[in-house]
Amino acid sequence: MATTTPRLLFFFFCVLISVADSKFMVYNTSQGIVAGKLNVHLVPHTHDDVGWLKTVDQYYVGSNNSIQGACVQNVLDSLIPALLADKNRKFIYVEIAFFQRWWRDQSDAVQRIVTDLVSSGQLEFINGGMCMHDEAATHYVDMIDQTTLGHRFIKREFDVTPRIGWQIDPFGHSAVQAYLLGAQVGFDSLYFGRIDYQDREKRKNDKSLEFVWQGSKSLGSSAEIFSGAFPENYEPPSGFYFEVNDKSPIVQDDITLFDYNVQERVNDFVAAAVSQANITRTNHIMWTMGTDFKYQYAHTWFRQMDKLIHYVNKDGRVNALYSTPSIYTDAKYATNESWPIKTGDFFPYADRINAYWTGYFTSRPALKHYVRTMSGYYLAARQLEFFKGRSTSGPNTDSLADALAIAQHHDAVTGTEKQHVANDYAKDCQ
C-alpha cells in the first residue's frame, strides 16, 4: 500500500487499546470422555529420531541446524512449564536415549517437578525403549536389550512401567514386535503409522485399522495385543500443525480483530473428526498432535489445543480432550467392541505404487554386519562380566549397551541415515 490515511492510524490505535483492555481468558480444558459423543483424543507428542539427518548429539543440543532445525533440549525444556501451566495438558515422551540425557542435565528441583508430572500422568512414558527400534533389520535379542535398558531406567527413576507400544515411524511391522516386544513386555496396545497403501485402503473400508494382533502361531491368544494403524500417518490432521513456523491457521478468538475465526476452526475440527470416525470402530478417535522434533516451543501447540478443546466442546457436536494412548486404549477397551484378528506381519511396506520399502532391508550391509557382530559380542561379554563380577567403575559393558541400543533405531541399522550419521553409529560402538 502506497499511503496510509490518518483514519487507519486511528484504527490501529483503538486496537491496541482494546488488547490492553482484554482480560485473562480461561479455557476449559478439563473435559474428559463423554459417553454418547464422538471423543477426539488429542495426543500431544514429538517424534525424536535417535539419529537420522543429524547425529544423536546434534539432535540433542540442536547443532547443525542448517540440515534440520531440531533440538531435543528445546522440546523438553519448554515442555515442563507448558505442562505446569495447566494440569489438564498432557504429553507423551518416547525416546529414552534423549530423555535420559536431558534428565541427567537437570537440577534436583526440576527433577522433582518432572517426577510429579509423571506421577500425575501429565507426562507419560510411552514405548520407553532407548529408541524406537526398527522392525525389519533388527534381531530380537537387540530389541529386547534396548527396550530393557529404557524400561529399567524409567522404573528406577520414576517407578512406572510404560503401558503402550508406539512404533509410529518404522517402515513395516513385525510379528515379533507385536507378540514379543508388545504382549510379553506387558503393553496394553501397540500403535503405528506405516502399513501398505493397499492394505490401508481395505482396512479403512472395513473399519479394521484397529484389531487384535496374534503375532505368534505357537503362543496364540496368550500373546495377543490390541493394535492400531493410523489412518494416514503419525501427524495431526491437515490444518492442525502448530509449531512456531507452521502454516496452519491459529484459533483467533479475539473478536475485536479482523481475522476472528473460531467458528471456522471448530468446523474444520468437527469435519476432520467425523471423517476419521467414519473409518473407525467405536466413538473414540485419536489425533496424533505432533511430528518429527516438534514442540521446540511447546506453548505454541498447547495454546491452540487449549482453545480448540474449549470452543469445540462449547460447540458440542464432538467432544475434544487432552489424552494419551493409554487413556485412548482404556476408552476403546471400555466400549466392549469386538475386534478383527490379525496374524502374520506387515511386511513389506509400500507407501504408494512402485514404492516398496524393501531396499533398506539391505542398505548399508557393512553397518548391518557390524551391529550384528556387536550384538553377539555384547551377549558373550555380559556372561564374562558376570563370571568375573561386575564393576561399575572398572571396564564394563555399559557403553556398548548404550551404543548398541541406539544402533537399533529405525534410521540407524536400517541404513536410511545420512553418511555422517552412519559413521557416528559405528564410532559409538567402538
Binding site: A137, G186, G220, F226, N354, S363, F387
Partner: protein
C-alpha cells in the same frame, strides 16, 4: 572399546582363578581380533620360534558344548596345534589369497590409518571343542623338527577351458562344480541321501531413475529406503575365470573370481553338513551413471509352489506366498521388490521331498521370485535419492589418503538341504552359532608351561550340565544392584520339529554351580515388573467370532521355588531376576569345573 577390555580382564581372571589369590589384578594380557573378518589379527600374526607359543582361549557363549572350527591368519609355514590336554590335534594351513590380503590392507589402512606391517601367508584352521558358557585353550607353536604338524592344503587351479566336474567335501556333504561353466552344479549328502542340483549365480538390478515416471505417477527412484529395479542383469563369469580348489583334512574350498568386483569362496567343513559361501562384493561399478543392487541366486529344480518362509527378527518363521497377501486382494506392480522380505536368521523353501535353507550373517533382503530359487540382496550402491527425507544417495565409499572407492562388502551365507521336515534343527542350532561366533582371546607364552599356571578349560555352568538342544540362554547379566538377569528362549515353534517342538526344562541351579539361588523372580520381558503383575493387569479384548479358531497357546508352568526348574513351551521366552548368595559351606571341589586345579 571398553567391552573389549572387560572381556580381556574377565578371561584373565578366569584363567588365573586356579592360582588366583583374591587380590590384585590378573597379570595375563589377552588380545582380541575384532577385525578378523577382514583377515586382520595382529595377535595371531606373530612369528613363533624358540619356545614362543601362541595361546588361544576359545570362549563359547552358547549353553551347550560346541564343536566348531577356528580360523586365524598366521606367519609360520610349519605350526602345530595342541588342545587343552596338551594333545596335538589336526590342523590345516590354507593360502591367504591376494583378494583377501588386498581387502585387508586397504580396509585396515582406512579404519586404523596404518598399513599392517606383517603379511601372513596362511590361514590356520583347526577344530575345537568348547564346553557350554566356557572356554578351551589351544596352543600354537612352530613345528620344530618332526611331529604331527599342520597339513598344508593342496591347491589346484582349473582353467575354464578344461571340461571336467570336480567334487569337493571330506565329509557327508559333497558339492560338484563344472569347471567349464565355472559354477556349482550338484549337492549330495551321503548320510541323509538328499541330492539336489544346485546352481549359484550373481546378478544385479539397475536402480530405477524416477524421472521416467509420467504423471499421475510420482517420480520414484530406487534409494536407501525403496527398492525399485529397472531390469535384471545376470553376471556371467568372465571368459578366463578360473576356479581354484583347495583341499585338506579340515576344510575344502573353491575360490572363484566371478568378475573383477565379485570374489567368492565356497567352503565345506569336514564335520558339517552345510555349505558356507563367503563373498566379497564391490566396489559396485557406477561409471555408466547407474546405481546397482547386487543379488545372488541359488537355483534348484524344487517345485516350491510360490511358497517360501522368512524369519521375523530372527525368531518365528512366517510363510510367504509370491504375489499374494493374506489380508487383501493384492495388486502387483513391482513383481520383484513387492516380494522382498527382511531376513535376519534365514529363508527356506520346501517341496514334497526336501527343504532348502539359507542362513545369513546379518540382516538383508531376500525372496523367492521364481519357484525353486532363493535370492539374497547382498549389496546396493545407488546414485539417486528416493525422496523419503534422507536427501542423500546411498553411495558408500571407503577412503584412503583422500582417495575414495566404492564400499566392498565381505560376508557369508550358509545353505543346507535336508529331507522335508528335518531342516529346522540346523536352522535353529546353527543359527545360534552364527549369532554367537566363538570369541577368541590371544596371549603369547614364552617358555613356561601355560598349563601349570592357568586353567585351560572352564564352564560357567555345572560341568555335568548343558542346556537342552531347544533352549538358548539369551541373557545372563549382572545388574547394578547385584541381581542377575537371565532370559531363556525356546528356539522352536509349535510343529516345527518332531523332536524339539516340545516342552523343555531348564534347571536354574545348574546354571549357577558356585552360587546358591536365594530367590528367582519371574519378570516380564523387559524386566520392569513381575510377570504375575503383568498377567493380572492384562486386558482381554473381545474378538470377532469369539475365540473360535484361535489357539490359546501353551505356556510353561510356574516355577517351584525349591526345585527351580523352568519349563519352556515352544517359542516361549522367560525372564528372571535372580538373587544369588555365595555358598556358605565349603565345597570340597571348589573349582571342580576348572580342570587344571
Amino acid at each position: 572399546m571398553e567391552s573389549e577390555q572387560l572381556v580381556a580382564t574377565s578371561l584373565a581372571h578366569l584363567v588365573e582363578s586356579a592360582s588366583y589369590t583374591g587380590s590384585g589384578n590378573p597379570t595375563t594380557k589377552f588380545q582380541q581380533c575384532l577385525l578378523l573378518n577382514i583377515s586382520y589379527c595382529p595377535a595371531s600374526e606373530v612369528t613363533l620360534s624358540q619356545g614362543k607359543k601362541l595361546i588361544v582361549v576359545v570362549y563359547n557363549s552358547l549353553g551347550w558344548k560346541r564343536d566348531d572350527t577356528v580360523r586365524i591368519p598366521v606367519i609360520n609355514e610349519d605350526v602345530i596345534v595342541h588342545d587343552s590336554e596338551g594333545k596335538a590335534i589336526e590342523s590345516q594351513l590354507l593360502p591367504l589369497d591376494d583378494v583377501h590380503l588386498g581387502l585387508r590392507n586397504y580396509y585396515v589402512k582406512a579404519y586404523l590409518g596404518q598399513t599392517p606391517t606383517k603379511t601372513p601367508k596362511y590361514w590356520l584352521v583347526f577344530t575345537v571343542s568348547v564346553p557350554p558358557l566356557g572356554f578351551s585353550t589351544y596352543t600354537i607353536s612352530g613345528a620344530e623338527g618332526a611331529g604331527a604338524s599342520s597339513t598344508r592344503s593342496s591347491v589346484y587351479t582349473f582353467q575354464s577351458r578344461e571340461k571336467s566336474t570336480i567334487e569337493v567335501g571330506q565329509g557327508n556333504v559333497k558339492l560338484s562344480f563344472s569347471t567349464e561353466q565355472g559354477k556349482m552344479t550338484n549337492y549330495v549328502n551321503s548320510r541323509s541321501l538328499v541330492e539336489e542340483s544346485v546352481q549359484q549365480s550373481y546378478s544385479f538390478y539397475n536402480g530405477y531413475n524416477g524421472s521416467n515416471d509420467k504423471a499421475p505417477l510420482i517420480p520414484q527412484n530406487s534409494g536407501a529406503y525403496v527398492f525399485r529395479p529397472n531390469g535384471t542383469f545376470l553376471i556371467t563369469p568372465e571368459e578366463k575365470a578360473s576356479l581354484t580348489v583347495i583341499r585338506g583334512p579340515v576344510i575344502d574350498e573353491v575360490h572363484q573370481q566371478i568378475n573383477s568386483w565379485i570374489h567368492q569362496i565356497t567352503r565345506l567343513h569336514k564335520e558339517k553338513e552345510h555349505v558356507e559361501v563367503e563373498f566379497i562384493v564391490g566396489p559396485i561399478p557406477t561409471d555408466d551413471g547407474i546405481g546397482k543392487e547386487v543379488v545372488t541366486q541359488l537355483d534348484t529344480a524344487m517345485a516350491t509352489n510360490k511358497t517360501f518362509y522368512t524369519d521375523s527378527n530372527g525368531r518365528d518363521f512366517i510363510k510367504r506366498i509370491r504375489d499374494y497377501r493374506t489380508d487383501w486382494d493384492f495388486k502387483v506392480n513391482q513383481p520383484v521388490a513387492g516380494n522382498y522380505y527382511p531376513i535376519n536368521l534365514g529363508i527356506y523353501m520346501q517341496d514334497n521331498r526336501t527343504e532348502f535353507s539359507v542362513l545369513v550373517d546379518r540382516s538383508l533382503g531376500g525372496s523367492s521370485t521364481v519357484d525353486g530359487q532363493i535370492e539374497l540382496m547382498l549389496h546396493r550402491r545407488l546414485l539417486l535419492d528416493d525422496s523419503r527425507g534422507v536427501a542423500e544417495a546411498l553411495n558408500e565409499t571407503v577412503c584412503v589418503s583422500d582417495e575414495c572407492t566404492g564400499l566392498r562388502v565381505l560376508g557369508k551365507f550358509y545353505f543346507r538341504i535336508d529331507p522335508l521336515g528335518d531342516g529346522a534343527k540346523w536352522r535353529r542350532s546353527f543359527g545360534q552359532e552364527i549369532y554367537s561366533p566363538l570369541l577368541l582371546a590371544f596371549a603369547e607364552q614364552d617358555g613356561d608351561n601355560w598349563k601349570n599356571s592357568h586353567a585351560t578349560t572352564f564352564s560357567g555352568i555345572d560341568s555335568s550340565y548343558s542346556l537342552p538342544d531347544n533352549v538358548a540362554l539369551i541373557t545372563l547379566q549382572e545388574l547394578d544392584d547385584g541381581k542377575i538377569l537371565i532370559r531363556l528362549a525356546h528356539l522352536y515353534e509349535v510343529g516345527e520339529d518332531k523332536d524339539f517342538s516340545v516342552m523343555a526344562n531348564v534347571e536354574l541351579k545348574k546354571l549357577f554351580p558356585r552360587k546358591k539361588i536365594g530367590k528367582a523372580t519371574e519378570m516380564n520381558l523387559s524386566a520392569n515388573q513381575e510377570r504375575t503383575e503383568m498377567e493380572r493387569k492384562r486386558l482381554v479384548w473381545k474378538k470377532e467370532g469369539g475365540s473360535s479358531g484361535t489357539e490359546k497357546g501353551v505356556r510353561g508352568g510356574p516355577v517351584d521355588p525349591a526345585k527351580l526348574v523352568v519349563e519352556l513351551a515352544p517359542m516361549e521366552i522367560r525372564t528372571f531376576l535372580i538373587d544369588l548368595e555365595q555358598k556358605f559351606f565349603h565345597r570340597r571341589h571348589h573349582h571342580h569345573d576348572v580342570s587344571d586345579v
